[in-house]
Assembly symmetry: C2
Homo-oligomer: 264 residues x 2
């Protein structure tokens, strides 16, 4: 069993002295610089998450994957996650295949169902369709990743695709992960599709999350997939300092936003 | 009046000895290298066109704009054109705003109605709607480029947008061109919207095309837009060599594809 260590980010817009936000553009530049540092210090992977808020302005993770692909040499890169339910899977494939041409063998995609509902009204979709959209679009993404010409129909399209070629094609298939915030349904879908599982963890104990790992491995073995392909990635909050005491002190100092005293 | 000189490309997949095509991935890598050379020799601009064929595999020009933004320092970059009719204008804006964060002041977009019909079935749209889709999506792209919060409805969406913020925002608006292959209707639309005009020229005499320039300038003056904003870009086929004779000889040698003699 091998382990890889990486980081992920949605971009962090710097705070201003008055408690507001600086420019999202600065956050994008800071993020690209962080990738370069991550490669320099030898991390295995850098992931870009999709959000649509002033504080977390990486709305197009595939754009950053391409920017990073062209300005790094070794580090693995990917979207963590692409909110596939509200995106166009053919475009996502094309964008990441372009990055894979620039950085062969270094590009991955984590396809998520969506952790917030903000992208549904933004992209003119009904959030009640979130699971249908996700299932259908993930299937199409996998189809284009797996073969040159695709004949396919599914509920997110009105018209079928017939013997359709999408360019550019990556020289070998992209690595596609199923991203989940911990729904049993998603664990089973990952197993069914034979996909590695990416757990986005926002809270809860290690014991709680270990259940998902066990359930995944158990179902995987039952289906009869090759054991070595049952990869799990875990994305957690982290904070690094010289030692535990220093880390806690620095973290807590910045965790509570400074609220000016309204009475003086 | 100032002039700028640049180049554009849809990517050129290298031909193989048997008359077929090499990998589109190689075409993407060659293209990114061409941008670096273009910057080195001092060109003002490099544009990426959108096509979806094995011979011209730049299906996601915004991905290449981002890759080029992160690996150049001075040259202007843009899409030439983005086929806006069949894309999601909010995504196009987000992708190019990300590039504009990385390369401030260097990013432009040429929004086109589409020169081939291939993208309509690919992205599940009806090509009979091409003008309606283009007009509606261009209006929304301009709205997000011009203001922070957008309240908007139009025929390409079922649901209106209400006080919607899209991130990241570029520090100053993107330069948006109206791209046209020479339809009088598009010339008038560019004037109506106060946009610079990008003429994609595939054939015809200079005199023929000058008519479009005159019509644009005349209508522009009538509307009362400031004269200095009436910019025209011209994209033409070009071939460069030491002198005219050498250029013609080399060009013609490669123009007719080599067809092996089937009888021997």
């Amino acid at each position: 069993m091998t382990f890889q260590l990486g980081v992920y980010s949605f971009g962090n817009t710097p705070r201003t002295a008055d408690g507001g936000y600086g420019t999202p553009a600065q956050a994008i530049r800071d993020l690209l610089q962080a990738v370069h540092v991550a490669e320099q210090v030898g991390l295995d992977f850098f992931g870009f998450g999709e959000h649509h808020t002033p504080s977390m302005p990486v709305s197009s993770p595939t754009s950053l994957v391409n920017a990073a692909a062209a300005s790094t040499h070794r580090i693995g890169l990917g979207t963590t996650v692409s909110v596939l339910s509200t995106d166009e899977p053919i475009r996502v494939f094309q964008q990441l295949a372009t990055a894979a041409a620039i950085a062969p063998g270094r590009i991955e995609v984590v396809a998520g169902r969506g952790s917030s509902t903000i992208t549904f009204p933004l992209f003119d979709l009904d959030e009640r369709d979130y699971d249908l959209l996700y299932g259908s679009k993930l299937e199409l993404l996998l189809a284009f990743n797996g073969q040159d010409r695709v004949t396919w129909s599914g509920p997110h399209r009105r018209r079928p695709l017939v013997d359709t070629l999408v360019v550019p094609r990556p020289e070998r298939p992209l690595r596609i992960w199923l991203g989940t915030g911990g729904s049993p349904n998603s664990v089973l879908r990952a197993v069914e599709l034979g996909l590695p599982m990416f757990l986005g963890i926002l809270g809860g104990t290690p014991e709680y999350w270990a259940q998902y790992g066990h359930a995944y491995h158990e179902a995987w073995a039952q289906v009869g997939h090759p054991a070595e392909a049952a990869d799990i990635a875990v994305a957690v909050h982290g904070f690094v300092a010289e030692n535990d005491r220093q880390a806690k002190a620095t973290y807590l100092e910045h965790e509570t936003p400074h609220v000016p005293n309204r009475h003086g």
